[in-house]
Amino acid sequence: MIDSATWLALAPLLPLAGFVLLALARLPRAAIAAVGAGSVALSLAAAVIAAAVYVASPLSGAVEVVLWRWMDVAGFAPAIGLRLDALSTVFILVITGVGLLIHVYSIAFMAGDEGYRRYFACMNLFIASMLLLVLADNLLLLYLGWEGVGLCSYLLIGFWYRDEANGRAARKAFIVTRFGDAAFAVGLFLLFQAAGTLDIHELLARIKELWSVGDPQAVAAGLLLLAGAVGKSAQLPLQTWLPDAMAGPTPVSALIHAATMVTAGVYLVARMNPLFDLAPAARSLVAVIGCATMLLAGLAALAQKDFKRVLAYSTISQIGYMFLALGVGAYVAGVAHFVTHALFKSALFLGAGIVIHCLHDGHDIFSMGGLRRAMPGAGWAFLLAALSLASVPPLTATFNSKDMIVDQVWRLSGGGVLWAGAILGTFLTAAYASRLFFVAFCGPLRQQPCRKPPMTMLAPFAALALLGALAGLPDLVAVFTGENFIAAFLGRSLPALGEAHAASTSALARQALLVGLALAGIGTAYVLYLRKPGLVAWAAATPLGSSVRRLAESGFAFDWLYDRLLVRPFLWLCRINRRDVIDAAFIVPTRVAEGLCAALSLLQTGRLRWYAACAAAGAIIYLAVAVLT
């Protein structure tokens, strides 16, 4: 009989074993697929069993397992320890579940690629690192997972490394997130110095005694951790790497850059929620960043032409929603939105992968069109996922998690600008989601697909779309019963929502407003892109319109700004400092050694008589010294 702790340890260890096997052994292709997807399937099974044990356990407990002690230096003894509570349960189930479907999808998607083994090895390593990240019981181990997923993201964005642009995108992602990671590390040092431990459970308990609300140290630690979260989750101002990260294979975008890794920041903030409760300034900043990111990325998504870039901006925007929720203290709502988002957004990406796969690697949505009739299965599934994104009831997937966020923003921040932003975000989301669907899947057929999507790709896609649509069901039940079991479950490890989020007249009015705005967004997209496409073309042709369109398409010129502000000065500095100033101090000893070497090598003439003379002179000097002293 294996106990729950062992099951928990198996969840990250199995994909890790898969990675090691794939990295070391040369296997036939069928075996590679079996190991790659099989290890994740087994990991999912282990995670489900561990989660089941946890769910059945008493309310306040957590499943814990310490595998071994990592190091022990002067009272600092972080362990390789895993801890499963409600928050990490939700995350591991999403990671392994979505991960498994995407691995299955990848078997067909990557078939024929020469880097098949490398692909699955990296994907397995990613799953292992991500599980480590969300299960770690101390911040150091969490940081290990954090860097591990960053590494895998880098490796997989640059997977097709022969194209130089892909390599550049990979480096960009790595370097931009590094800004956040460095701040995160400094934050860890600060926390350790203050509390003397990095064990999450202990640390959170200790800082509550140590710091009062608004303590400058708490605010500083909160801000540093926030910087790490912002980098990983592609929020303002470090969001520029995510659209370029679409250079990787589409399943990678679905798994890493939509469902899991980019929400690591959400996990971090939710996990460290007591710290952010102690630092109201940092928490307000979370909300402001989330809101601004959501609106900017939503607008940028409206102007993209590349199928995957629309989805990338949409991801940034939806994570902005989660940050907004976290920022106002509605941690449960933020995590609930993470779950639904992971499901429907990875579904959308898998759909994009199918479309790209069947259209000779075409990415431009305006060269598509009418795909609904050419690929009905993919079309319906994509419609389902897009409706989830647009959050239209009765497909209440995101509707309820979004409704919960809007409700909490109203309750906790007293309305105002953030609330207006959240409301406006609904309109934008619906508009870009439906624009994507209308342009690519409706209208006249512009390009005949060159092949039919294989069943092994269609099935995971449809499954994820369906799951995404059904994910809101518990919330729908909650509207009638007044008891939300997801919220109740998360309440085990997160602060509960402000007040019961149940049906009342004000709630109904708010929901009606959200639905109305979503429908208005869809309607606007319908009119602009299906009924009167000339209108958009006309607007884009005017000088103002074209500059606005260009600005939005470039993601509000952040790349341009950073290029001027950071990249060019840095390159300039490198250029003028080609002969490194700091190196000068180290050049002196080198020069001295070189001079001595040259002087001594003069003695090595290769002439026998010279050597004899030297030996004789040495002997005479030695004798003279010995005799005369």
Partner: protein, 108 residues
């Protein structure tokens, strides 16, 4: 029995050694170099004998025999080397030997 004073013997030994050293330093012909080297060794050996005579001990003469044996072997090896040297380079000039390329290799 009248004996030669120690100083005279030692001075002679030093003179012989110096003559040998001078020969080593100024000669370029390997054969003459070898002969000069023998002179130096003889000078040293003479110092042993003079010192042995002074203190009336046989050790000095034993040491001389050792030196003789070493010299004999050394000369044998040196002459063999010289034969190879001449065979390769068609000269016995020590300075040219130092600048020659080793056979079959390149200069490191």
């Amino acid at each position: 029995m009248p004996t030669v004073p120690l100083e005279y013997g030692m001075l002679l030994a030093a003179a012989v050694t110096l003559v040998g050293l001078t020969g080593v330093l100024v000669r370029r012909n390997l054969l003459l170099l070898l002969m000069s080297l023998e002179l130096m060794l003889n000078g040293a050996a003479m110092a042993f004998i003079v010192a042995g005579a002074k203190w009336g001990q046989a050790d000095g003469q034993v040491m001389f025999l050792f030196v003789l044996a070493v010299t004999a072997t050394e000369t044998g090896i040196a002459l063999a080397l010289m034969l190879r040297f001449h065979h390769h380079l068609r000269t016995l000039d020590a300075d040219r030997g130092g600048q020659a390329e080793p056979p079959g290799g390149t200069k490191g």
